[in-house]
């Protein structure tokens, strides 16, 4: 019960900050709320017991990407802020897409089976006592680096590599955007 309440609160906060990202006028404010959103997503993962993902989420998105983001925003010329309109025609298309997205996931959410949240959360709380005598017994546990990397490089290899392609595309796009008009 406690878990569910926490999840709802955190989820609501994430949604709030996500709205903040798109609705704040100032890019730095948006960036900061995006940062907080990322951190809260990390909390979300933690609550689900996905510690590894949570740590990586914070480290990569909050600690790495957001830094570059913020640096980019801070050190580029942002006088255009005042002339750019916040809503235009694309907003309506976006709204339609968002509704479609929510419809799809809502449908999925209510028509598939998930383990009860309470169970997932309680699984991660494992009592460990008398570790001194275990003598590296921890190697058998699920969250050790070995098992994570085995999973990452076998079952999830394609998404992993796809992500790298995505990042390369983003880098190229960034350079293109920053280029002078020729």
């Amino acid at each position: 019960m406690m878990m569910t309440v926490l999840l709802i609160i955190v989820g609501a906060l994430i949604a709030l900050f996500a709205i903040g990202v798109v609705s704040f006028k100032h890019p730095v404010a948006s960036a900061v709320s995006l940062l907080v959103g990322f951190l809260l997503v990390g909390v979300f993962y933690l609550l689900y017991g996905a510690e590894f993902v949570a740590a990586v989420q914070v480290m990569v998105y909050a600690g790495g990407i957001m830094v570059l983001y913020l640096m980019g925003v801070l050190f580029t010329d942002n006088e255009w802020i005042h002339v750019t309109r916040q809503t235009h025609l694309q907003a309506w298309i976006g709204l339609v897409l968002i509704l479609a997205f929510f419809a799809f996931f809502g449908h999925k959410l209510f028509h598939s089976e998930y383990p009860a949240i309470e169970n997932v959360a309680s699984q991660t709380v494992v009592q460990k006592e008398n570790k001194a005598e275990e003598k590296l017994g921890y190697l058998k546990r699920e969250t050790n680096p070995r098992s994570v990397s085995v999973k990452l490089f076998s079952d999830y290899l394609i998404p992993f590599e796809a992500a790298s392609v995505l990042l390369t595309v983003a880098v190229v796009g960034g350079i293109f955007l920053a280029k002078k008009e020729v």
Binding site: D77, A178, K179, K180
Partner: protein, 376 residues
């Protein structure tokens, strides 16, 4: 310097220049000096010097004071090399009045001059190293300078701005025990300088920060009228003590250290070597101290015939010149001070082309400016 890099970046990306105001209140400008930097990233595209914050109108003031009255105020120009300023004005007036200075007084002047040069260089060493980030060196430099100040206090009765020499000679003989104290100090200082050289000269970081930074070629250095170690770092042998001899300097045996590349490191090395030479000169002067009179035959009321003289000394910062125009009264009609810092600072524009902000700090330090002298 990879000067092509920013231009390449500027071609490909749409960047904007930034104007950064460095000073007048900035620790690295050694006083109230303001540099308006036009920056491309951290690289300096253009430097616009603004000086004059410390302008006290000493040259105007001098026209209203008799020659004797004026002497103490010139201490305030380069307050880290007060005795040398003093020598300059006193020498200029002596040249104007054609006064004979006793040999013993000249020896005393050489000793105090060189002590002051040591003090000034130590202070430069301290602050320059602090600019580049070596914090401890500040304290070492100031610590070594302290005995010199004590020696001055014992001899002149004042530490920083001693109003060292009267026109025509020197005031008093060294007090009892002064010579021994001076020798002791010099003996202690020599290994200390070696220590500091081991701390910095061979230090990889120090070398990376100083070698190839703020380069000014031999020709440019002459054309920009630099003087002192700033000029000699570029390999130009111009030391007033040798080139336009004055006082008792021709009687001493010393070398003029020269640099080769004209970068911050060379200027640093020059000053470090110069300190050793100063020690050498003082030791020779102490050994060969002649007997005789100290006070020359200076008139009470000094009236020079109409005319003009230009007298230069080698101050710690470079060639310090006094140009006196006399109109027959006991006050200078016009007194112009060629202050080395003022002219050397002008070379900063040339030295800092394409440098980074951090380099700029190192370069200002290596020029060794004193704003009291720049602005007069």
């Amino acid at each position: 310097m990879n000067a092509e890099k920013p231009s390449y970046m500027r071609e490909v990306l749409e960047t904007r220049e930034m104007e950064l105001n460095m000073g007048p209140q900035h620790p690295a400008t050694h006083g109230v000096y303001r540099a308006i930097l036009t920056l491309d990233g951290e690289r300096i595209m253009k430097l616009n010097s603004v000086v004059g914050y410390l302008h006290r109108g000493i040259e105007k003031w001098a026209e209203y004071r008799t020659y004797q009255q004026g002497v103490p105020i010139y201490d305030r120009l380069d307050y880290l090399g007060a005795v040398l300023n003093n020598h300059g004005i006193v020498g200029a007036v002596e040249k104007l009045l054609q006064l004979e200075v006793p040999r013993k007084a000249e020896y005393q002047r050489v000793i105090c001059d060189e002590l002051q040069r040591l003090a000034s260089h130590l202070m430069w060493f301290a602050t320059h190293a602090l600019d580049i980030g070596a914090m401890s060196v500040l304290f070492y430099g100031v610590r070594e300078r302290e005995p010199i100040m004590d020696l001055f206090e014992a001899h002149f009765g004042q530490r920083l701005l001693p109003n060292a020499y009267p026109i025509g000679g020197c005031r008093l003989d060294f007090p009892k025990g002064w010579t021994e104290a001076c020798r002791k100090f010099l003996k202690a200082l020599k290994p200390r300088i070696d220590d500091y050289e081991t701390l910095l000269t061979g230090n990889r970081m120090w070398r990376q920060r100083t070698i190839g930074v703020g380069v000014i070629s031999k020709e440019d250095a002459i054309a920009y009228g630099l003087s002192g170690p700033t000029l000699r770092g570029s390999g130009v042998c111009f030391d007033v003590r040798r080139s336009i001899p004055y006082s008792a300097y021709p009687e001493f045996d010393f070398e003029i250290p020269l640099g080769t590349n004209g970068d911050v490191f060379d200027r640093y090395l020059c000053r470090m070597k110069e300190m050793r030479q100063s020690i050498r000169i003082i030791e020779q002067a102490l050994d060969g101290m002649p007997e005789g009179d100290l006070k020359g035959k200076a008139p009470k009321i000094m009236r020079a015939p109409m005319g003009e003289v230009y007298f230069t000394v080698e101050a710690a910062k470079g060639q310090l010149g006094y140009y006196i125009v006399s109109d027959g009264t006991d006050k200078p009609y016009r007194l112009h001070i060629k202050s080395p810092s003022f002219i050397n600072l002008q070379g900063l524009n040339r030295m800092s082309e394409g440098a980074l902000i951090a380099d700029m700090v190192a370069i200002i330090g290596s020029i060794d400016i004193v704003l009291g002298e720049v602005d007069r």
